[in-house]
Amino acid sequence: MRKPRLLIVDDEIPFARNLVWLLSRRDYEVEAVYDGASALRSIEEQEFDVVILDLKMPGMDGIATLKELKKKRPDTEVIILTGYASVDSALDGLKLGAYDYATKPLQLSDLEEKITQAYERKRLLE
């Protein structure tokens, strides 16, 4: 089974780049963008299996990005990342169709597990 195609959407550039580097080494196809608008452009141009989406971003925040993303790519699974550790806002995301949420800082292994589960769900629903 191929590894899922991932899109990292986070305004924290060093964090996004680290994730890209680490996940690439683990045979994921992964890209990173640093704002919501760029994320929407990317998903229009190509399909991603799982989007790792930060909630708090300048301009278009994670929830707004999620809403638009789900309109354009309803099949794409989204994992919400949040440094706020607020269950409330993360659960808002779940209600809008996100698959799961994780709080920063997170272990890479935990993130990988969530990515795998999200991808399996996507494959089941296809």
Partner: protein, 607 residues
């Protein structure tokens, strides 16, 4: 609970002020009304009594004067309507005498006396025909005035009597018709007047000699213990001291009363009210007197009653004022203490809210760099794994360092999570929770840790406690914090104990949980800050100082209260009170969360 120091002096001042105001506003008018009533009543009573006495004296005076005027008129009528020759006939005189006494036995005797002063004819019980009256005072008076009523005198008959004498001059004949008045009859006119137990009516002459027998202390012809000079004017009303001879004087010494009065040898018996009136003729004083105490006895009783009532009312007002003031001060003190307590809680809650909001912002800002550190650490780890030529020691040291970085990131993450819990409102849905189950669960979680620290845990949970409508996870978090702190309090001690109790408090309709330990206790100066965020008595690295703040915040959001008693070196006891009615919920947010310990509570009302 201690009285706020700030208010201690003001309570005393307030108490005094209240007493002053209430006493002034109620006692002064009462005193005024009372005294005015008393004075008015006294005055009124006095004037009524005075008027009554004056009426008595006037009444008796008129009776006596009428009697004497009628008798004088009788004698004058006989004298002027009968001739000398007629009246000097014994049988005629007898006839006239009987006529005079027909209406009443007014006259004792009747006689015609010549200018020589001797009886010419006489009807009466005494042998007086050979008596010479020419040098007697009455003879001289009648010869001078024509009509004369004498004072009482003994005369030849050696018995008190008085006479009415009329001088008649017809032509060359001059003679005197003299009649002796029946003394008892005169006395009977006034002696029948009874005024209570101490009242009396009598007549005295200008020298103070009794013309009638007084009811008390004397008899006719005795000298009355009266200062005659004081009876001025035609009539009057006096209050005098009733006097008697000094006790040191033997009564048989027979010293005249006038001398005793003159030389101040009388002593006061009692005060008396005296009404008097001078007769026109003769020169007698009619006296009506009565003991002051008897006259005003009833009035005095009423006055005394008024005064007693007045003073009793004042006393009652004072007592009620004091008691009311005390009660009000007590209520005020209680309110002040409650207000201070609420204020403290408000300050604490504000502190927490401010810190919570700050903490939330800080936590979020820190979590991102932590995520960068963690992922960068992971990158370095990956790179080091790729390098096969790395020296073993170097690789080991690198691994250790990276592990240390990961551990510290987790530690920071733990701190930020706690900070965020401080700011976070607790869950959206309350559930019915069995407190005992929650406590037992927490005790189970910490049993091993306690045991390894040499601390023995015991529980005493009241059976069948009412279930709480609250937030189960947060509830357990509170007790986790408290019991965890209790275990940590035994650090450095070889053994200790933690006793946990739970019971229902009917008076407050709440559940009271206590966690008491035998640990190191909390210094007194730290007790007021124990719930402050970041305040900790643990060594650096051992605690964040947020556990009790979070517990406090959770309990307050549940509608409860948390307090502590502690003694340094002996241990601490935390008390958590939670209402059985459940916390107020206004616009709670968030998801339902995972399934709780018990079934869901009914949906809370949102405001």
């Amino acid at each position: 609970m201690h009285e706020p120091d700030l208010h201690r002096r003001s309570y005393t001042k307030l108490f005094r002020r209240f007493i002053l105001v209430s006493v002034t506003c109620s006692v002064l008018p009462l005193l005024l009304v009372g005294w005015v009533s008393y004075l008015y009543y006294s005055q009124f009573s006095m004037s009524r009594v005075g008027a009554y006495f004056q009426r008595q004296v006037e009444y008796n005076r008129r009776i006596v004067e009428s009697f004497l005027e009628e008798r004088t008129a009788d004698v004058k009528l006989v004298a002027f309507t009968h001739s000398f020759g007629f009246l000097t006939d014994q049988s005629n005189l007898r006839e006239v005498f009987h006529v005079l006494n027909r209406e009443g036995a007014y006259f004792t005797d009747l006689g015609v006396i010549g200018t020589t002063g001797r009886y010419i004819s006489y009807i009466g019980p005494y042998d007086l025909m050979d008596k010479d009256y020419s040098v007697t005072p009455w003879f001289k008076e009648v010869m001078a005035k024509g009509v004369y009523i004498s004072d009482m005198f003994m005369g030849y008959r050696k018995t008190p009597h008085f006479i009415i004498a009329v001088l008649v001059s017809k032509g060359e004949t001059t003679w005197i018709l003299r009649a002796t008045i029946y003394t008892e009859f005169l006395s009977s006119l006034i002696e029948t007047t009874r005024l209570g137990k101490t009242g009396e009516v009598f007549l005295v002459n200008r020298e103070g000699v009794y013309q009638t027998s007084p009811r008390f202390n004397g008899k006719i012809m005795d000298t009355a213990a009266l200062v005659m000079d004081s009876f001025t004017g035609e009539s009057g009303l006096r209050i005098i001291d009733s006097v008697k001879p000094a006790e040191s004087l033997a009564p048989e010494k027979g010293i005249p009363i006038a001398d005793l009065i003159k030389y101040g040898l009388m002593q006061t018996k009692s005060e008396q009210i005296v009404a008097y009136s001078w007769l026109r003729r003769p020169d007698w004083l009619l006296v009506v007197k009565q003991d002051f105490s008897e006259v005003f006895g009833d009035i005095n009783h009423v006055n005394t009653a008024i005064l007693v009532l007045l003073h009793a009312s004042i006393l009652a007002i004072l007592v009620v004022s004091v008691l009311t003031a005390r009660y009000m001060i007590k209520v005020i003190k209680k309110r002040d203490i409650e207000a201070e307590g609420l204020n403290r809680q408000l300050i604490q809650a504000s502190k927490l809210a401010t810190i919570g909001e700050l903490a939330a912002g800080v936590a979020h800002e820190i979590n991102n760099p932590l995520a960068v550190i963690l992922t960068t650490s992971q990158v370095v780890r990956d790179l080091s794994e790729d390098e096969k030529d790395l020296h073993v020691e170097f690789k080991d040291q690198l691994d250790q360092s990276l592990s240390q970085i990961d551990a510290q990131v987790q530690r920071c993450s733990h701190i930020t999570q706690n900070l965020l819990r401080l700011a976070r409102r607790i869950g959206a849905e309350s559930r019915f929770v069995d407190l005992n189950v929650a406590l037992k669960h927490v005790v189970g979680l910490l049993e091993k840790r306690a045991s390894s620290s040499g601390v023995q845990m015991s529980i005493d949970l009241q059976e069948d406690l009412p279930r709480l409508c609250t937030f189960p996870f947060e509830l357990e978090q509170v007790f986790l914090n408290l019991i965890s702190n209790a275990i940590d309090a035994h650090e450095g001690k070889p053994y200790g104990s933690i006793h946990i109790t739970a019971q229902f408090d009917g008076s407050t309709n709440g559940l009271v949980t206590t966690v008491a330990d035998t640990g190191s206790g909390i210094p007194a100066e730290d007790l007021s800050r124990i719930f402050d965020p970041f305040f900790t008595t643990k060594p650096v690295g051992k605690g964040t100082g947020l556990g009790l703040s979070i517990s406090y915040s959770i309990v307050r959001q549940m509608g409860g209260d948390i307090s502590v008693r502690s003694e340094s070196g002996k241990g601490s006891e935390f008390t958590v009170w939670l209402p059985c009615s459940g916390p107020e919920q206004d616009g709670m947010e968030g998801a339902s969360g995972k399934e709780g310990l018990d079934e869901k509570a009914p949906a809370a009302h949102s405001g």
